[in-house]
């Protein structure tokens, strides 16, 4: 195929017909829900997250009504506790984070000129997990069983089953399930940004939105797993009475606070950065010029991401930690103002240097910056420990966090909504309604939250269900309540605007005359994402590259056809986006939904202590995952390579470090290793909290012998797998299989060997935090040994079934990545529980 072939309209029509058939969404009442295309899944995701936002907003209105006047009795204290807990949890876990994932799933392939993200079924799985978990957690309030410990669930009140009901379990297990879907989205987005860029889109040409998403997805990998580790410990205490947070048995409630806030503070930036990323797309469009200071934005995103992991203790200033520790975190909290300010200045300077078009999206963007800056400034105040001691747990903090989140997340998302609605639906929203809504929200937010600074400074504590009239706070609270209803009116106007959209005229293509790739989308959009994958030479190709839109539309770039009837996209190299291969993408399937259902069963059934059914659900999940992998991954193609146009021929199969599957495994294991380091942190945290750790009567447990045996077995399994990979790649199929069999045996033997130490030395985990944390580390490592055995058996089966050959060895290469991390986990875990007591 040469360039000139595309001059033939008949050929182009035939190509379009093939693409249309390949990318056709499944039809029918039930089948349509099996779709995996990013457009559909992204839309479901956005709508669901938006619905949760409205739900949590209603909860807030009930709270504000209760607080409107002193000594009100609209709701009782128990209900009020459920309301504020669910409001915070839903806004954070079911709105802000999923909304970022949802928007990215819609936008990223468009921005990168890809047909879809590399793992469309994983996105669908993430969506179904989110939906099931979200409905489970939110629905609990209708049964008066919602969590009521505040959105950060501090023990010991929440871990003592006599003081808290099922709500704590619902929170812990329901949200753990949603955290799984966040990690899944992070994998998808990182691999998408690094490997699915169009040819020529080097790192310096990447849309800034993609930079932000890359940074935020990496943050998720390091932020969510500590919370998962905390959840594990929390549920072990609630369900099995292992005293991690019980001070009377050597535990410490502060451990939860550490693990929660190591997640919780980066979380703030995880929801802020992707929203501000929308500005990086719409500001140049409405300034009618390239964004100034591109590397400064990269500095801001990367710098904020790092610094945000050094802030968590500023939520714990009032817990009595040594002042020197508070000083470190106070310093980092002040430092993070630098990159945050840099990006705001970049946007201001770009607008200043451009010819500004005052559109509705830009109105939201500038208004939200004003609100955000106020929240940022009070943030600088509460980052100073002495001020924080005065303001801690008062309405001042409530005001601060709402200014940050409304200015940094909610309103930027509305800016994005007005900006990108034409991209998704082909129709513009109403400027009149949009501006009305903006002013209602802007005025309402200030009326609602500004008085809270004052009521907080005058001594109103947060999370109280009512207050006496003598306090003199009635006026300020009434103002806040009125403000909250004004915000609600603004949001109602937006909802009205959205509801009227189906009856509106189609907008022209690229209605804002933007310069970035996503605006190639056609109002009557085809499902295929992009007609042909372009060669990128500029940050704003629609503005700068000659005849760009026409060439894309006429299929004059890469991969303009789907000859083999498969969904495909191009994989390129990380730094310079050189084409590496063509991958086949997953087609619509029931598997993601069924797997999410099975996994949801594990979490939900455990909540109700139905352990046998949960176990059945767990086995079903494993079976689903194996079936999914066996039928949908590392497929050996019918031919080694295919042409993508312009005389380029790309392989259809790659394995190892250049392949998306390898990266997905690597990224997942980074998250896994981070969760493990959270548990390990727990061990050493207890050590610093006790003069004697291990306690003298348990100093000999679990001993050195069994942990070292287990470590040897793990290392043997690791070496065997690496050797199997190498020998297999050189054609030694039989020897490779034998080595895998040996590795399988050592992994299986590692399970009892790992548990033998604590078991044979009679450690009772319910007596003290020391045996509890030793058991936890041992069980975690043994579970990983069991998973290693399953993976080795899987690879062996693939080889025996002829689905893995020396030239098509993605399976064993990916499993080797797992084994590297497993060996590291085993080394850290067994060295800690076996050897550390000798030196402590």
């Amino acid at each position: 195929m040469s360039l000139h072939d595309q001059d033939d309209p008949a050929l182009r029509a035939a190509q379009e017909q093939r693409l249309r058939e390949v990318w056709a969404p499944p039809k029918g009442l039930f089948l349509r829900w099996t779709d995996t295309n990013n457009n559909q899944v992204g839309n479901w995701y956005v709508l669901t997250a938006f619905a949760f936002m409205l739900f949590a907003g209603v909860l807030a209105l009930i709270m504000r009504t209760q607080l409107a006047v002193p000594d009100n009795d609209l709701v009782g204290p128990g209900t009020f506790n459920q309301l504020f807990t669910l409001h915070g949890s839903v806004m954070m876990f079911l709105f802000a984070v999923p909304m970022f994932e949802a928007v990215s799933i819609i936008l990223l392939p468009q921005l990168l000129g890809a047909r879809d993200l590399p793992f469309p079924r994983l996105s669908a799985f993430g969506y179904w997990s989110f939906l099931i978990g979200g409905v489970f957690v939110s629905g609990s309030i209708f049964f008066d069983a919602a969590p009521d410990g505040g959105w950060f669930m501090y023990p010991p009140l929440t871990t003592r089953t006599d003081l808290s009901g099922l709500g704590a379990d619902i929170w812990m297990l329901g949200l753990s399930f949603i955290e799984v879907s966040s990690v899944a989205a992070a994998v998808e987005l990182i691999v998408g940004v690094l490997q699915c860029r169009p040819p020529g889109m080097r790192l310096n040409l990447m849309p800034l939105y993609a930079w932000y998403i890359l940074v935020v997805a990496v943050m998720i990998l390091f932020a969510f797993p500590p919370l998962i580790a905390g959840d594990v410990l929390f549920e072990m205490e609630r369900l099995l009475d292992w005293p991690f947070f019980d001070a009377s048995r050597g535990g410490d409630p502060l451990l939860w606070q550490h693990l929660f806030w190591i997640f919780g503070h980066p979380e703030v930036y995880i929801v802020f950065l992707p929203s501000i990323a929308l500005f990086a797309m719409l500001v140049p469009t409405f300034a009618r010029r390239h964004l100034l200071g591109y590397p400064w934005i990269v500095l801001a995103a990367v710098g904020t991401a790092f610094l945000s992991f050094g802030l968590w203790v500023h939520h714990m200033f009032a817990t009595g930690l040594p002042k020197i520790s508070l000083g470190f975190f106070s310093a980092a909290s002040e430092a993070v103002a630098i990159p945050t300010a840099v990006q705001i200045f970049v946007f201001i300077v770009t607008l200043w240097a451009g010819r500004v078009v005052w559109s509705t999206p830009l109105l939201y963007a500038t208004g939200s910056l004003a609100i955000f800056v106020i929240g940022g400034l009070t943030g600088v105040m509460v980052a100073l420990a002495p001020f924080d001691w005065q303001a801690h747990d008062t309405y001042f903090v409530v005001a601060h966090l709402h200014y940050v989140l409304i200015g940094g997340t909610l309103m930027p998302l509305f800016a994005g909504l007005y900006y990108y609605w034409p991209l998704v639906t082909g129709k513009k929203l109403s400027d009149r309604l949009g501006r009305t809504a903006f002013w209602l929200i802007f005025v309402g937010a200030n009326l609602c939250f500004f008085p809270m600074h004052l009521s907080g400074l005058e001594g109103m504590p947060r999370r109280v269900f009512t207050y006496p009239a003598d306090l003199g706070l009635g006026g300020l609270n009434m103002a806040s309540t009125i403000g909250s209803f004004v915000i609600a009116a603004g949001i109602a106007v937006i909802v009205l605007d959205l509801c009227r959209s189906p009856w509106r005229q189609m907008a022209p293509r690229n209605p804002w005359q933007a310069g970035t790739l996503e605006w190639l989308a056609h109002p009557q959009d085809e499902n295929w994402g992009i007609r042909s994958i372009p060669l990128i030479e500029s940050r704003y190709p629609i503005w700068d590259q000659e005849d760009f839109v026409r060439k894309v539309d006429e299929g004059r770039y890469f991969l303009p056809d789907a000859e083999e009837g498969r969904r495909e996209t191009i994989i390129t190299s990380v730094l310079d986006a050189r084409p590496v291969s063509v991958i086949r993408l997953g087609a619509p399937s029931w598997k993601p939904m069924l797997t999410a259902l099975a996994l949801g069963g594990v979490f939900i059934l455990t909540t109700y202590h139905l352990y046998w059914l949960a176990l059945v659900s767990g086995v079903a999940t494993l079976a689903m995952v194996l079936w999914w992998l066996w039928t949908g991954t590392a497929e050996i193609p019918e031919k080694p390579s295919k042409p993508i146009g312009h005389g380029m021929e790309l392989p259809l199969y790659i394995s190892g470090g250049a392949s998306p599957g390898w990266w997905a495994m690597f990224i997942t294991m980074m998250a896994d290793a981070t969760a493990f380091s959270g548990l390990l942190f727990g061990y050493f945290f207890f050590w610093t909290r006790h003069a004697d750790f291990p306690p003298p009567d348990m100093a000999a447990a679990p001993g050195i012998f069994w942990p070292m045996i287990a470590l040897m077995l793990a290392l043997a399994g690791w070496v065997a797998t690496v050797a199997a990979r190498e020998i297999h790649a050189r054609g030694g199929i039989g020897a490779g299989r034998l080595l895998l069999l040996f590795g399988l045996a050592t992994s299986l033997a590692g399970v009892p060997a790992g548990l033998a130490g604590p078991w044979l030395s009679g450690m009772d985990p319910a007596t003290h935090s020391y045996p509890a944390i030793v058991w936890t580390l041992a069980i975690w490592t043994c579970l990983h040994a069991a998973v290693a055995a399953i993976m080795q058996a899987y690879v062996l089966a693939r080889s025996l079934a002829g689905r893995m050959t020396p030239h098509h060895d993605a399976d064993i290469r990916n499993v080797t990545v797992y084994m590297h991390f497993f060996a590291l986990t085993a080394a850290c875990a067994y060295a800690t529980i076996g050897l550390f007591p000798e030196v402590a």
């Binding site: 310096n204 430092a335 610093t688």
Partner: protein, 130 residues
């Protein structure tokens, strides 16, 4: 210095490969120093109950971190000045990609340097574990 009249004989810092990994060297050093500071203070306060006014370990760690960030920043600074098209580095060429990454690394080095100094300051002003 970087404009070597002998043509393609490049300096050692110009031959270093610049990737996403080198981009995050300065903030990673900040993170390592921050973790080190936190652990150092937490362990010395919990296990010894106190630390000396100018603890050698902490000073050494801080100097090491600042030196590593400065070195990374210096390399990036030299790479930013390698011959090629002027800023903004927005062409699809090797030199633009390199100079962009070097610029971002340089900026991150500046931020990380300030960050390490910020972290070190409390030790100067707070001399004990109260």
């Amino acid at each position: 210095m970087s404009e070597d009249p002998r043509g393609d004989r490049r300096k050692w810092h110009e031959r270093l490969q610049v990737t996403l990994w080198t981009l995050i060297v300065p903030p990673t050093v900040w993170a390592a120093h921050f973790l080190f500071s936190y652990l150092w203070a937490a362990i010395s306060c919990a296990k010894q109950g106190d630390f000396a006014r100018f603890p050698t370990l902490f000073v050494a760690g801080t100097v090491l971190a600042l030196a590593a960030i400065a070195l990374s920043g210096w390399i990036a600074h030299r790479q930013v000045r390698m011959p090629g098209s002027p800023p903004p580095h927005q062409d699809g060429t090797d030199i633009d990609r390199l100079r962009f990454l070097a610029k971002a690394t340089l900026l991150l080095a500046g931020l990380s340097f300030v960050g390490v100094l910020f972290t070190a300051l409390p030790v100067v002003f707070i001399g004990d574990c109260r």
